[in-house]
């Protein structure tokens, strides 16, 4: 079975709004390297539209910093599945799933391949509940923001989830990456 991983930048108070993160070459490199083990991105629609076409354009125009360009190229090259009722067109290496993300992800997990990265906040609770998330990569930023969207809203899980810490990594800008595996 393929490993399913969830990676996210969060503030210390648990928000994952993209404005929490100040740009850091080191952090970009970390996420780019993480993509080395991934050959499928499993998106919710909101997250997909936050990231595309933005990163595809960066990759095409090479409009970012060298680190951002590398991240953009890597991200753009990986196959994508987007869970959405409203998106009209599949494009390039992206295909759309209309319903039943749990069953679809389970099917993908059983196919041969490298890791699957889940990039969705709204799908996360049901995917955790279904036992489908094997790894968490949470980068805790040294900031509290008090508002926005939490990576997990209180009450969205019925059961607690015990994890095993694999490693941590400290960045110069005060971020700490936490890598956990489900127990």
């Amino acid at each position: 079975m393929r490993t399913v991983t969830f990676g996210m930048n969060i503030s210390l108070d648990g928000y994952c709004d993209h404005t929490i993160a100040s740009p850091s070459e080191e952090l970009m490199g970390y996420f780019t390297r993480m993509m080395d083990d991934v050959d499928l991105l499993f998106f919710g629609r909101v997250m997909y539209q936050l990231m595309f076409p933005y990163w595809a354009d960066v990759a095409k125009d090479q409009s970012g910093t060298p680190d951002e360009n590398r991240f953009a190229e890597r991200l753009t090259a990986i196959d994508k599945v987007v869970v959405s009722r409203s998106l009209a067109f599949e494009e390039g290496n992206m295909r759309i799933i209309r319903s039943n993300p749990v069953a679809e992800l389970l099917k993908l997990k059983q196919e041969p391949g490298k890791k699957i990265s889940v990039d969705s906040i709204s799908l996360l609770p049901e995917l955790i509940t279904a036992g489908l998330i094997d790894e968490f990569n949470l980068v805790i930023h040294p900031i509290m923001v008090g508002k926005g969207r939490r990576f997990l809203e209180a009450g969205s899980l019925q059961e607690k989830l015990n994890l095993k810490l694999i490693d941590t990594r400290i960045f110069k800008n005060g971020c700490v990456a936490h890598h956990y595996r489900k127990q």
Binding site: P142, D167, H178
Partner: protein
């Protein structure tokens, strides 16, 4: 080098810092929905580590509920026949430390070495910060922490992140109205899978 800078900076500051010392889940809860704390991993390795910083303090800050829990256990914990090294040391420290309790209901009884703050939190806490001494740890006490957080009276966070997602419970961070930038001082990974995140508050900007 970086570490020395931090030490020098801290020494320059006149005021004592209030540091929130808390065990939290990965999703930011300080306790379960009914106050459960049985998921918190503490072992000799963590006791030894936190014991060093705790023993340096001469003042401890508690909310009323946490204080009552402490008071029912620590004064006698060191005398029990099966007391551990940690029990004996912390019991000794607890009895001699100046205890400051935030409570609207407790009356200033004849408690040795104990001060109760029941009103005018900003003034009382600022007076405490201006008194002579080092950093003051606020032990657990989510409700008291929330009150102090809202008044921007917390100067640092010393957190022990447990490898668990609780999904529900009493959050550590509520009603934060500002953007609070932190400075990571130290971090450490424990065998049990707990990580220490030790921050001071760097700057506060009002959310627009």
């Amino acid at each position: 080098m970086a570490v020395w800078h931090i030490i020098i900076e801290n020494n320059k500051k006149q005021m004592r810092k209030i540091i929130s010392f808390m065990h939290i889940s990965l999703d930011g809860f300080a306790a379960g929905p009914n106050g459960e704390m049985n998921w918190i991993k503490v072992d000799e390795e963590i006791f030894d580590h936190v014991g060093i910083r705790i023993s340096e303090g001469d003042t401890a800050l508690y909310g009323r509920i946490t204080y009552e829990m402490m008071e029912s256990y620590w004064p006698t914990a060191g005398d029990e026949p099966e007391a551990s090294k940690h029990d004996i040391e912390h019991s000794k420290w607890y009895k001699k430390v100046h205890k400051v309790i935030l409570s609207k209901t407790m009356k200033d009884a004849d408690l040795a070495n104990t001060t109760i703050i029941s009103d005018n939190l900003p003034d009382s806490i600022n007076r405490l910060k201006q008194s002579e001494g080092g950093d003051i740890l606020l032990f657990g006490s989510p409700a008291a922490t929330h009150s102090l957080m809202q008044l921007n009276l917390i100067d640092g966070y010393w957190l022990f992140v447990n490898p668990i997602i609780l999904g529900r419970g009493i959050p550590l961070f509520v009603d934060i109205n500002d953007k609070i930038k932190l400075k990571l001082l130290t971090t450490r990974q424990f065998t049990s899978g707990v990580t220490e995140l030790n921050y001071t508050v760097d700057s506060i900007t009002t959310n627009g």
